[in-house]
Assembly symmetry: C2
Homo-oligomer: 213 residues x 2
Amino acid sequence: MITVWMAELSERSGLPVATIKYYLREGLLPPGAAVGATRARYGEQHLRRLRLIRALVDVAQLRLDVVRAVLGAVETADSRHTAIGAAHRELTAADGPEPTDGSLATVDALLARRSWAMAPGNRLRAALAQSLDAIAGLGFPVGVDLLDAYAQAMTDVAEVELDQLDNVDRDSAVEHAIIGVLLLEPVLLNIRRIAEQNASMARFSARSARGAR
Amino acid sequence: MITVWMAELSERSGLPVATIKYYLREGLLPPGAAVGATRARYGEQHLRRLRLIRALVDVAQLRLDVVRAVLGAVETADSRHTAIGAAHRELTAADGPEPTDGSLATVDALLARRSWAMAPGNRLRAALAQSLDAIAGLGFPVGVDLLDAYAQAMTDVAEVELDQLDNVDRDSAVEHAIIGVLLLEPVLLNIRRIAEQNASMARFSARSARGAR
DNA sequence: CCACTTTGGATAGTTAGACTATCCAACATT
DNA sequence: AATGTTGGATAGTCTAACTATCCAAAGTGG
């Protein structure tokens, strides 16, 4: 196993030594193997962890305390299935206003239509209800057909995503679970924006053509 | 038209007077109608704007400078189509590392497969490539079949989303465009997480059953 | 019409998050 | 033995988003 000093870890990760020390202090990076009181060696996994942290911060826009929570929770998971669940659990913050009964009912109806089961304490139910409330509070409630379209689309997507996860060796399953849950979000959202622009442009041209006729 | 003083605007929006003054200074909220040097009246649109700002900050996690840019850009748009485009443009920040040629080629191939056109300067192309690079940099490149699944799913979704936009009166089209682009993102992501958990659970149980047989 | 309250506008202070820099004593290298 | 790097502790910086204070001009109640 290759091991390196702090200086090289800094160089290879592209992060200043001071920042790596900060991550060590914050418990985001496990300490290196101590060799005497003022020296420690770091391995390949430290480098991989640093890169993962940076990706979560830069791409997924997570705060460091959330990164620590996700990393810790996923690490203690004993399977891909529980790893995904743990990642979701840590990412679904229990903050903001309580969801209304109406939005909770909407969510439950959606779950029922798709025969989706959900453990009693799962915060995703409340989180979805909260995001519906936020929109309804602005006067534009989300229609049932849009919710169904989202649910159908995400059902299709989830199958393909899990296919990918099956082809991964056990060691990197944890990292892969985090990547699958978090880092694919911007990919999906960017594609949504492109699709929206194109669909919008198609309708716009169609309307102009009709108007000009 | 109903108009109110600062005190009532604060009360009805739930925001402290100091915060509303801050938003006025920052140009997020248009000034009220001045009545003398130390008095101004605010209308219903100020209240709606404040609620929209809070939703963009709390739900869509936008920074205030981005909120200002989005609001400004969308307001000067002359149709729903251009409003959506303007919102996307302001949201697609031109930061981070340059995308690699490989990821750009992957994006272009995807666009070609779906016959999606894109204006030359559109930053969405680079943004999508960057998010692919971030994942590839961790050693788990995104497969073409996953990209296609995302593209198909988002194509379906975009049609339903635009159907909603058609049923909206001209006045609130701007707000609706912002909501459609930004506030529906958390809804979609929450549904994705629920769908993933269920798909993951289904496979997990299937595997356990096979193992126990 | 006069004491009292509210407001707009300006300015200064606060808090949280994420670093960044400095020190120092203990090693290790030359 | 001189020089240089490291771990560990501590303190300082920077930005974003408020939050608080002040003050003079305007209303308002009596």
